[in-house]
């Protein structure tokens, strides 16, 4: 075991670079997924039937096709359309789109959980439709959906490992290289497993913190 650690030590910097890339991809993709998810969720609860249908099809499609297939679709397909972006950008794009479908479902449930009376009261006070949406509906929906969104985002972080299949050298990609050069795949991947678990655990702690902060002063849910 001591031998293993000594052999891995020179590669720690390289692994750390990969870790930084994973974090960067995750931060960008999480932001993208939440923005896109909020947009799709508001479309899914819109008045227009067409908007609802489009949003529902989007969610259904991207939730039921494996992420790796979506990733290959974008990675090999976009250059065909004359769009030349790097592998990292493609990966972040695919993660945002796939994550957006899951986040949309969560936020939609949050929107539907708002009591009709609250919206009616806002209407009686003379708030415009946009004001009701941005001041009443969205803040409440986001507050309710923080916790379920957390598990979606944790899944997104785990999904980021798949970017290694399109030549992005994030944590899994660098680990592959280190495993090949040191020929200690078991040790490298075991460390990786624990690292990812630590990363998602930290994220879940952060989600709990945000949930507490947004729900301060709220009575505890009974169910």
């Amino acid at each position: 075991m001591i031998r293993s650690w000594n052999a891995l030590e020179p590669h720690l910097g390289f692994l750390l670079e990969g870790f930084a890339l994973t974090v960067a991809a995750c931060v960008l993709a999480v932001a993208g997924a939440v923005v896109l998810g909020a947009l799709i969720a508001s479309l899914r609860t819109a008045r227009s039937r067409a908007a609802r249908t489009v949003a529902a099809v989007y969610c259904d499609l991207f939730r039921n096709v494996p992420f790796i297939v979506q990733l290959f679709f974008f990675f090999y397909g976009l250059p065909e359309l004359g769009i030349y972006i790097g592998a990292f950008e493609t990966g972040v794009l695919a993660m945002s789109i796939a994550g957006g479908a899951f986040v949309a479902d969560v936020i939609r449930a949050g929107i539907l959980s708002i009591e009709q009376g609250v919206i009616e009261a806002a209407r009686v006070f003379g708030l415009s439709r946009w004001q009701i949406f941005s001041r009443i509906v969205m803040p409440n929906a986001l507050r309710v959906s923080v916790r379920p969104m957390g598990s979606v985002l944790i899944n997104l972080v785990l999904t980021s490992s798949i970017l290694s299949t399109i030549t992005v050298n994030e944590l899994t990609g660098t680990a592959k290289i280190v495993a090949a050069t040191t020929f200690m795949p078991f040790e490298v991947y075991a460390v990786l497993l624990v690292l990812y678990a630590a990363l998602t655990y930290t994220l879940s702690l952060a989600v709990t913190g945000v949930h507490r902060r947004l729900n301060r002063g709220m009575p505890e849910a009974v169910a």
Binding site: L61, N64, V65, P66, F67, I68, V69, Q70, F72, F73, Y76, G77, E80, I154, L158, T159, S160, S161, I162, S164, T165, T172, A175, K176, A179, F183, M184, P185, F186, E187, V188, Y189, A190, L192, L193, V194, Y196, A197, T200, Y201
Partner: protein, 223 residues
């Protein structure tokens, strides 16, 4: 002569890939659910140390990327334990364990959802712990778990696409081969994606029927 165009034989390839995907999915589901149920029984009997170990290991499996688990088994285990590992064995082992970890959590909450009163009543009637598990808890826990289990299995079907990365010729791998030969990413990945989509929908429909069948005696009386 370049074999760049689609040929009728590609359909045979596609069918083979689909067969591998579905076969592996069926096998890992059976093993995973059986193992998950066995772990739940272990947990139910509160075996001293093993219960905690099971919880810790399943948490680690749930919170790390399946891709890394695959690499650990396929590249790591042969190097560390000097065993032979074919891609199919590695895929079977990894995906089964992963399914088991998630199924364990679902079954456990199903067991915990059974009311204490029923168990106490059964104990008063002189049933043994095994009889209570067999006659009282497991039928109800099965009915509680079937909904979340269907969601899990639809997800696990998509997880099987990752085994293409270690060289199993499943649907995604066939897509990769066709993509590189024909250079038609849109056609290839759309067909592959659609096939996965239809499988997921069929699975969900099948699960819905099973759920209705299992819950036919449970009348939802409102909150």
């Amino acid at each position: 002569m370049r074999y760049a165009d689609f040929t009728p034989y590609d359909l045979v390839l596609l069918a083979q890939g689909l067969g591998v995907t579905l076969g592996l999915f069926a096998a890992t589901t059976l093993i995973g659910l059986a193992l998950g149920a066995a772990l739940t029984v272990l947990h139910y009997y509160r075996v001293p140390v093993i219960g905690h170990v099971v919880v810790a290991v399943t948490e680690l499996l749930k919170n790390s990327p399946v891709l890394v688990q695959l690499f650990l088994v396929f590249f790591g285990m042969p190097a560390f334990f000097q065993v032979n590992m074919t891609p199919v064995t590695a895929a079977l082992l990894t995906v089964s364990l992963n399914t088991a970890a998630f199924a364990f959590v679902i079954f456990r909450s199903g067991v915990e959802a059974v009311e204490r009163d029923q168990i106490e009543a059964a104990r008063v009637f002189g049933h043994s712990r095994w009889q209570i598990l067999r006659r009282i808890i497991s039928p109800q826990a099965a009915a509680f778990s079937v909904g979340p289990l269907i969601g899990l299995l639809v997800n696990q079907l998509q997880v099987t696409s990752l085994i293409s990365v270690i060289g199993v010729a499943d649907l995604t791998k066939i897509g990769n081969i066709l993509n590189l030969r024909t250079l038609e990413p849109f056609v290839v990945w759309s067909v592959i994606g659609l096939t996965y989509y239809l499988c997921a929908k069929a699975l969900a429909a099948l699960g819905g029927r099973l759920e209705r069948h299992l819950r036919r005696s449970v009348v939802w009386q409102g909150l």
